[in-house]
């Protein structure tokens, strides 16, 4: 099957084109770098089906970030049958810069002039026939969003894919012509594919090229010795970039962008929006407000703080399916909570129906199916509505172009911690789910920044960790009668962020010293997100989540249930005999390790339930509370309803059964929040981290969670231990400070 690759600048409409061509569920974003890996789909309107590959947006074939390397490698080594170069017609000048480089590869190229409708609207014209003549490859006008010109584009691309195309370069009219020809000949001698491309990259002093073909550098160095350009001297890199832009602006009057004097007079809609959103005084407060609004709409049970305004107004739906769905006496539910309640009621009803069917079957079969399987899956699915809603809001922010502005606004703050404003996006996404957040770090150009960001992403408490926070907080209030659930939950979110900042500063001061990564980023024009693309994105997320629930999590809940209901001699155990189970035996082995954290050996016989719950979180964080659900009922020796109140009852039982203290419980939340994230996130981290950084990352998570939790427990239980910790931290900081000073001195001496 033939393969066509879509290449172009970020925000040129590539992914929209991909969606229109393939009808697939790839996702369109307005944040530079939303296509974080190459996506493939099928186009079926030609004689034979064509595989379409959507590549991450690139400005140039000199890669700068990890995702740009993906694009470059695919275009050069992936041998696509045709490259469709998507060009944003409203910004021909910069977009054609990439085109000039694509033409240097021995591959058929077709140019898709996208967004021509916007050009016509603004009164400009671009002549595709003239452009085609000049560039020497087919040029087709399309509108990806209105699906215009797509058939013609694909027909032309198909024609081209059946021909061979030899590379050409706009640099052949520059002073470097002879040098490039010489180097190209050497590459031909080495039988390297795409000799012209490699020759030009080598002359440009491209990092990857210099590393792979150092033996050819001699020719270039020799040339530099006697070559002097008027403006650039022997700076070949500058000459090449300059020649490309000069060629573009001189050849195409259409490519010429408006003179700057004209721009200052007219303000586009984007500028007007930006005047408010990136305003000196309003920018930051507006960002915080938007963030608050998103979380409020997703998680609040007291929408807009209106309180129980509707509590006594009919219809109250009392006793019906709708009771407490839209509002309770404490307030109106947010859309997120309404969806969650709706799903919750449905799953509870389903469980009842199923247990009705199973009433005559053996006890262990009924238990396995209702508690083990359904209980586990439904516990996980119950978070789906809120996670999806959170995703929807973040997708809207991304697609509209606002996220790039957030990076712009907050870069200054992030630089203090040794990061760029770009790392904010993955961190905030971490509040929803660590997995897309970690994948998003591919947009970061600097390895250190990337590693540091991936390591702290789990500290931004994800949707699956929220139930741990609320259930334990609720349990504390129920059992000890003190505190406030909102305050405890919020403080734990805050704790996660503080630990993230402190660990980034620590990493930058010890193992990741060095200058802060540069921050050079396009601010795309604002536009309204496309409804279709948003829905496709949500659908994708939902599929992924449900798949996870029915595979890994289902398997795990079954294992937990079996291990907690069978003894070492494979004897079925009733719920009340759980302390004789395999799970209890294994848990007891490692329980002493958690004594400094407040949920170890100091507790009564059931101490292992906390340890087992924490371990079950490694598979999926949702398991922590569902494990409580399975085990809590058994510990109490009575069946407790844990459905409606997010496991609060189960935690309360656990507190009673084990005698754990408040500091111990807080330490338990902190441990779950900061330790190794779920299995799926760990796998993502392994894939995204540079080689040899994975083991260190796992150790980092373990050490951080253990240290912070034991600190919380010890200080919470014996306040005077705070002096010991303060002393230890003081010594630590001083040691780092002294070592760094010493190193700085050495470096200065060396240079």
């Amino acid at each position: 099957m033939k393969r066509f690759a879509l290449a172009g600048n970020p925000n040129c409409g590539k992914t929209t084109l991909f969606n229109s061509l393939t009808g697939s569920s790839a996702y369109v974003g307005n944040w530079p770098g939303v296509t974080v890996e190459k996506k493939e789909g099928k186009y079926k309107k030609l004689k034979e089906p064509i595989s379409i590959v959507d590549l991450p947006g690139i400005y140039s074939l000199s890669p700068y970030t990890a995702e740009e390397v993906i694009s470059r490698n695919f275009i050069i080594d992936g041998k696509p049958d045709c490259v469709i170069n998507v060009v944003d017609s409203t910004n021909l000048e910069r977009n054609l810069y990439l085109t000039t480089q694509l033409l240097e590869i021995d591959v058929p190229v077709v140019i898709a002039l996208n967004m021509m409708d916007a050009v016509r609207k603004s009164g400009d014209t671009i002549n595709p026939i003239l452009l085609e003549k000049e560039i020497g490859v087919p040029v087709v006008c399309i509108s990806a969003s209105k699906e215009e010109g797509l058939d013609e584009l694909m027909i032309r691309a198909y024609e081209e894919s059946q021909k061979k195309r030899t590379s050409s370069s706009v640099l052949m009219s520059s002073e470097l012509k002879h040098l490039i020809n010489d180097v190209e000949l050497s590459f031909r001698g080495l039988k390297v594919d795409n000799p012209l491309f490699h020759a030009i990259k080598l002359v440009e002093n491209d990092e990857i090229e210099v590393k792979t073909h150092p033996q050819l550098l001699g020719v270039v160095d020799e040339f530099k010795k006697y070559f002097k350009d008027e403006t650039f001297g022997s700076d070949l890199e500058a000459i090449i970039a300059d020649s490309r832009y000069k060629y573009i602006t001189s050849k195409y009057t259409a490519a010429k962008t408006k003179k700057i004097n004209e721009i200052t007079k007219s303000f586009s809609t984007s500028d007007k929006i930006d005047r408010v959103l990136t305003n000196k005084w309003l920018g930051v407060p507006l960002f915080l407000l938007i963030l608050f609004f998103i979380f409020h709409m997703t998680f609040s049970e007291n929408l807009f703080f209106l309180g129980g305004l509707f509590a006594n107004i009919p219809p109250s739906f009392e006793g019906t399916f709708f009771e407490g769905l839209f509002w309770t006496s404490s307030g109106i539910n947010s859309p997120g909570v309404i969806f969650a309640n709706l799903l919750g009621s449905t799953t509870t009803w389903l469980t009842e129906v199923v247990s009705g069917w199973l009433s005559s079957s053996p006890q262990w079969v009924a238990g396995l199916i209702t508690n083990g399987m359904l209980g586990g899956i439904f516990a996980v699915l119950s978070f789906l509505p809120q996670i999806l809603l959170l995703f929807l809001f973040f997708s809207i922010l991304e697609d509209s172009g606002y996220m790039a502005r957030v990076a712009f606004i907050l870069d200054r703050l992030f630089r203090r911690f040794g990061l760029t404003g770009r790392s904010l996006m993955p961190m905030i996404m971490g509040f929803g789910c660590s997995i897309p957040a970690m994948i998003n770090t591919r947009t970061l150009s600097n390895d250190n920044e990337k590693i540091a960001t991936i390591r702290v992403i789990p500290f931004f408490s994800c949707g699956a960790k929220l139930p741990i926070l609320t259930a334990v907080a609720g349990g504390i209030i129920l059992q000890f009668g003190i505190g406030n659930a909102d305050v405890i939950t919020f403080s734990m979110y805050l704790l996660g962020m503080i630990v993230a900042i402190v660990s980034i500063i620590l990493m930058r001061a010890t193992i990741m010293r060095g200058p802060v990564a540069p921050f050079i980023m396009e601010l795309p024009a604002y536009h309204l997100p496309q409804f279709k693309a948003l829905m496709l994105h949500l659908w994708d997320k939902m599929k992924h989540f449900i798949k996870k629930a029915f595979t890994v999590i289902l398997a795990f809940t079954i294992i937990i249930w079996v291990f907690s209901h069978f003894s070492f001699s494979w004897q079925y155990l009733d719920d009340v005999d759980i302390d004789k189970s395999i799970l209890a035996g294994l848990g007891q082995l490692i329980t002493p390790l958690f004594t400094p954290l407040g949920f170890g050996s100091q507790l009564t016989a059931f101490s292992w339930v906390f340890v087992v719950a924490a371990f079950s979180g490694l598979i999926a964080k949702e398991n922590v509370i569902s494990t409580f659900g399975v085990l809590g009922a058994c510990v109490a020796g009575a069946i407790i309803d844990i459905g409606g109140d997010g496991g609060v009852g189960a935690v309360a039982t656990m507190i009673q059964g084990t005698g754990i203290t408040i500091p111990g419980l807080i330490a338990f939340i902190a441990f779950n929040l900061l330790t190794i994230p779920c299995f799926a996130a760990v796998a993502t981290a392994k894939a995204e981290l540079p080689k040899k950084k994975f083991g260190g990352t796992l150790a980092f998570w373990l050490v951080t969670s253990y240290a912070v939790s034991s600190m919380i427990y010890l200080i919470g239980s014996w306040w005077w231990t705070s002096f010991i910790f303060a002393g230890a931290i003081g010594v630590g900081i001083s040691v780092i400070f002294i070592i760094n000073k010493h190193r700085d001195k050495k470096e200065r001496m060396a240079s």
Partner: protein, 78 residues
Amino acid sequence: MQKKLNQFAVGEYGVVVNVLGEGKIRRRLFDMGITPGAEVLLRKKAPFGDPLEIHVRGYELTLRKSEAEFIVCELGAK
């Protein structure tokens, strides 16, 4: 008059004369269209005074003052 981009006042514009520095940052600046001859306009500064938003080759680009320091411009008439 020549001026580095980081010293521009908001609303000032000029033509790039030279791009200093080396390595990846310089390469990136070239790729993003900041080459000698390009017109740049300082649109605004971020709320905390840094980074900067500039208009170059028909689009908006943000970069830090520390990177703008590499960009030497000939100031255009107001």
